[in-house]
Amino acid sequence: MDFLKNDKRVLGVSRKVSTQVFFNSGSIDITGFMNGIDIESEVKFYKFNEYVTTGKPMDLKYVPNSIILGKPLAQKLLADIGDVIQITTPQGERFPLKVVGYYQSGLADFDKTQSFVNTSTVQTILGKPNSYITDIQVKLYDIKQAPAIAKEYAKVFDTNTEDIQTANAQFETGNNIRNIISYAVGITLLIVAGFGIYNILNMMIFEKMDTIAILKATGFAGVDVKRIFLFISISIGITGCFAGLLFGYILSSIIERLPFETAALPTIKTFPVDFNPLYYIIAIIFSLITTFFAGWFPARKASRVDPVIIIRGK
């Protein structure tokens, strides 16, 4: 335990004692799991309190022999807050526990079977000493190091370890695919917009041939003409960029207020929107790069217009 706590890569450690139990409801027994947790570190490192939809999580520590039930499990047991329920250990011993809260992770199957108690409660029920632990959860500063550190600890402690990436592999792939799709759509839109600006400027140069010829005849060099057209395209880019950001922000603010309720995510009542400024910065950078290139080629063309041909052609 201390070894883990002293590892510089580790943010926090929490101990866990899990066991299978039967919840007694009248004449029937429901099979489930009881997790003995260190409530303080669970709240601190894993936001346990966010999943407790009713009741106070810290009661696990302050109320002796208390339990937090998965909400669907509690409904099955007809257990309200404050009720006392009976559980039976695999060894056949019965124990009364007081319900102090409901837990809802959003994964219905998980919630149907899980319950949480203080570590010492499980140890007492099982008749084990308070050094008895079944799991240790380690939270790292850098999540990306998890697979490597998991392997390292497996060797050092000669035990089973599992990193978060493996545990959540499916979730990660889904996430990656979603990201790829949204970036692909974004880049496609930028390219389309870029061609739009390119076309506008090309048309503009065609229309303004006379103007370019006069500018050159009166002493503007090719680079000056190029600068003027680049300036126009960057202006279009900046205006469009900020209009787009503002519009996007307003739209996402509206979406954020739309109700979005699903049993899978009980803590979320409206559409989840990430307003990370990084996304806005990425948008600014990419749109300016696009307009710069969309403007560059027409501007170069304008700078090469031969005034003699235009003036003679009149």
């Binding site: 009166t218 002493g219 000056d224 003699v308 003679r312």
Partner: protein
């Protein structure tokens, strides 16, 4: 004592269209400061071609061209643009103003590029020239709301804004009626007499040519009289 503003030496030019077609043959002449010169000749004899070369816009020729005693060949596009800006005022046959700007802005534009003076000073100088040419009250009109004669006088004001060493014109009255042509010619004469401005004007108007101090006559790409 007179100084040479423009000196052309053995200028030759050919077009490839599609065979090599010589247009200018050994053109040599000089223009002194304060001279008012006209160029005449039949259509197609190469007057415009010569003027584009003299104004540094066309660089595809052989021979030597000196403006203000500086050799033009072997200068970069950027340097030539600067020389046009500073030393040459050009008046075209078609009025060639920037329609999106006001008259005043059109006149100011070459000076803003040169940026020898502050914007306020440039505006003052532009107004002064518009006043001298009798079109001061047009200053804040949009360029495309003017008549042909007015536009051409604005173009002359624009050519004058940087106190150029020489003003060149390619048939500046070619597109104007008799009355407006008279006004433009009168403006040139006034510039020559009052301001000792050096002028080189291509024209078809023989009366006008006769009234200038010096006339260069061209035929088939050669100077036959000057």
């Amino acid at each position: 004592m007179s100084t040479t503003i423009l000196q052309a030496k053995d200028i030759n030019k050919s077009f490839k269209d599609p065979v090599l077609m010589p247009v200018l043959h050994n053109i040599s002449f000089t223009i002194e400061k304060g001279e008012f010169t006209s160029i005449i000749g039949k259509s197609g004899c190469g007057k415009s071609t010569l003027l584009y070369i003299l104004s540094t816009m066309d660089t595809d020729y052989t021979g030597e061209l000196c403006i203000d005693e500086e050799l033009m060949s072997s200068k970069s596009e950027k340097d030539l643009a600067h020389i046009r800006n500073e030393k040459i005022g050009f008046v075209f046959q078609f009025h060639y103003l920037l329609n999106e700007f006001t008259v005043l802005r059109n006149v100011m534009l070459p000076a803003l590029r040169l940026s020898k003076y502050s914007e306020a000073e440039i505006e003052m100088r532009a107004m002064k020239w518009l006043d001298n040419l009798g079109i001061k009250d047009l200053a804040h009109k949009k360029a495309n709301h003017l008549s042909g004669g007015q536009k051409q006088r604005v173009a002359i004001a624009r050519a004058l804004i940087n106190d150029p060493a020489i003003i060149m014109g390619d048939e500046p009255t070619g597109n104007l009626d008799k009355k407006n042509s008279e006004i433009v010619f009168e403006t040139f004469r006034q510039l020559s007499e009052e301001f000792k401005q050096t002028l080189l004007i291509v024209t078809h108007d023989n009366d006008f040519a006769a009234s200038t101090r010096r006339t260069i006559e061209m035929e088939d790409g050669r100077i036959i009289r000057h």
